[in-house]
């Protein structure tokens, strides 16, 4: 029986969420290689879209991949190369970010970035029925970040919530710490913070704690980092909730692709992994102590 090759191309672990996603990809690949004797995996991580295109080209040219699981660094630049993989007859699974052209992918395991923003915004509005002043930390300037912020803005529209300031914390703890310190210097009263990511939330919390400010009622992160989920579950008032954006969606995609290649079970279509609000009540359902993220 012929060995089939699945190529997995993902962005490198340059921030917390991507790190978690890298972990899950690696772990799933290792596990599936044991399970399926007739499957071979190629895992490549890329630090920029150009490098990711290189990786995909290499997979096609030298590894004869039968399927490609790709989490595009950015949608637009990755569309043509993934399209040519599809044209060559290989199976294509796209994860998280959709491609710019319809009809390329066989399977789409979708994250929902504007949903992520929307859920976050709705939670904010609900937590502050009388409105209030908040600051927002944004991620690395990308389409993902834009979609999240748009979703968020739409959700808080008319709620009386006033966004004092937005600045990029680049999904980075150190950057968000610095930005939050400066926000605290700048604004004598901040009611809440939308940190939009758990890595950034950690930096924000450290800055607030260091400044000894008690005007900030809570910080909303996102993506479901295990430490943050734990604190929500423990009833930490500063972290009343979280919004999921599970990095393990890559595992779903790889696993489904493996199933698709090795069995007759139908796996094509779109599989939306929605962003869910996590509060103290349901937090333990989202707590994976063994995950690195």
């Amino acid at each position: 029986q012929e060995t089939k090759v699945i190529g997995v191309s993902i962005p490198a672990a340059t921030h917390g969420w991507a790190g978690g996603m890298n972990f899950h990809a690696k772990e799933t690949v290792e596990r599936l290689e044991e399970v399926y004797s007739d499957l071979d995996f190629v895992l490549a991580t890329a630090s920029d879209p150009g490098k990711q295109v290189n990786d995909i080209e290499d997979m096609v040219a030298t590894r004869n991949i039968d399927a490609l699981v790709v989490l595009p660094f950015e949608s637009d630049p990755l569309t043509p190369p993934v399209q040519s993989v599809a044209d060559s007859g290989a199976w294509v699974t796209v994860v998280d970010r959709g491609l710019s052209v319809e009809g390329i992918k066989d399977l789409y395991v979708a994250g929902d970035n504007s949903g992520f923003g929307k859920v976050s915004g709705e939670f904010m509005a609900q937590q502050m029925p009388d409105g209030g002043d908040i600051v927002v930390l944004r991620g690395i300037p990308t389409t993902i970040d834009n979609e999240r912020v748009e979703g968020f803005n739409a959700a808080i529209e008319g709620s009386g919530i006033n966004v004092l300031d937005m600045e990029h914390g680049n999904w980075n703890r150190d950057d968000s710490f610095t930005v939050m310190q400066d926000f605290l210097s700048k604004y004598p009263n901040i009611d809440a913070v939308w940190a939009s990511d758990d890595d950034m939330a950690i930096g924000v919390l450290a800055a607030i704690e260091a400044a000894g400010r008690d005007d900030v009622k809570f910080v909303l992160g996102g993506a479901g980092m295990k430490e943050m989920i734990k604190r929500t579950a423990d009833g930490d008032e500063m972290i009343p909730a979280n919004v999921t954006y599970p990095p393990s969606m890559i595992a779903t995609a790889i696993e489904l692709t493996a199933v698709g290649l090795t069995s007759n079970a139908p796996v094509s279509g779109t599989f939306v992994i929605g962003s869910v609000l996590v509060t103290q009540e349901n937090a333990m359902d989202f707590y994976y102590p063994d995950s690195p993220f």
């Binding site: 991580t45 920029d48 879209p49 150009g50 290189n54 030298t62 590894r63 630049p77 300037p141």
Partner: protein, 332 residues
């Protein structure tokens, strides 16, 4: 006293390690690749590696001149991103009036080259006319171009109109006689660069300027102009690289061209050009670029190493490639 008035008969001498080193490193990498994967030497893979080397390669040829003339340019990566963004904006904007066709492509190419030239001239002007350290000027302009492209793209991605992209795509993927355009352009740039560097007046002036600018000045070499031209040429080459880059990915964003500057400089130095200036060789730079591309390619051929460690392998090979070309350490 030996008589030196008559040219000595050119006897055959072993090329020095500084010449052989990069070549040996490249051959070793090729052997490793071939051993690891039977498809490594396939036309498709070779084409891929060469074509993708073209961007950095074209830039690195320009960087060779800048470094030889005693300069440095850290801004090329973000300059490329900025030019790509600008080119896309211009082409998208002209689409309604020009329509899909050759003119709009030419407009895009023109934009890229002019933008590159201007960006290079700006760097060169600040460095030569105002006399500021090249490291600082280009670190500054690196931040500026990176910001500008983020701003142009509104934090997201600037994408070429899809119809336009299909029309423009052949510029990256097609070619003549089965050799794709980026490879052809890269080869041309290299050949012209090598000739200029080793046989032209300008190449000599670059080396003299980088070797000792006072001597160059007293030899009536226009030091500032030599430097300025090197930056301007690098800018134009960044523009040309971008012309090849845009049809490949059809978009530009804040993450386009990140770290290209370090890669280009590394390629130049691996190739044997002296970082402090005064000596450069374009063919060496090509080998440096190929070595760097091959490392990435070979790492994708195997599953031996954790992808987390790719960077470490790259680092080690870069250092080894340079150790190879070290002459026996001369006593001070």
């Amino acid at each position: 006293m030996t008589d030196v008035t008559t040219p000595q008969t050119k006897s055959f001498r072993m090329p020095s390690m500084s010449v052989l080193g990069p070549i040996i490193a490249l051959i070793v990498l090729l052997l490793i690749g071939t051993a690891l994967n039977s498809n490594f030497l396939s036309a498709a893979n070779i084409t891929n590696v060469l074509a993708r080397s073209a961007f950095i390669g074209i830039i690195a040829v320009g960087m060779t001149f800048v470094i030889t003339a005693g300069g440095l340019d850290l801004s090329v990566g973000s300059m490329a991103a900025f030019i790509a963004g600008l080119m896309i904006l211009v082409m998208n904007a002209a689409l309604p009036s020009l329509g899909v066709g050759v003119p709009i492509i030419l407009l895009g190419m023109f934009t890229a080259i002019v933008a590159g030239l201007l960006a290079g001239l700006l760097n060169g002007f600040l460095i030569t006319a105002l006399g500021i350290e090249a490291f600082i000027v280009t670190l500054g302009s690196m931040g500026i171009y990176r910001s500008l492209v983020t701003w142009l793209a509104d934090g997201g991605t600037l994408s070429l109109d899809f119809g336009l992209r299909s029309f423009y795509r052949p510029v990256y993927f097609d070619g003549i006689l089965g050799i794709s355009w980026p490879i052809i352009v890269f080869a041309l740039v290299v050949i012209i660069g090598e000739i200029i560097m080793s046989r032209s007046v300008y190449g000599r002036h670059c080396a003299a300027t980088g070797s000792n600018e006072h001597v160059a000045h007293y030899s009536n070499v226009n030091v500032n102009r030599t430097r300025l031209i090197s930056y301007a040429a690098l800018g134009i080459l960044v523009g040309i690289a971008t012309i090849m880059y845009v049809p490949r990915l059809g978009s530009a964003s804040a993450s386009t061209g990140v770290l290209w500057e370090l890669e280009a400089i590394a390629a130049v130095i691996i190739g044997g050009t002296v970082l402090k200036g005064g000596f450069g060789r374009v063919w060496g730079t090509v080998i440096g670029v190929l070595i760097l591309s091959l490392i990435g390619n070979i790492l994708n051929l195997t599953d031996f190493v954790s992808p987390y460690l790719n960077g470490a392998i790259q680092g080690i090979i870069i250092i080894l490639a340079v150790i190879l070309q070290r002459e026996r350490k001369t006593a001070l």
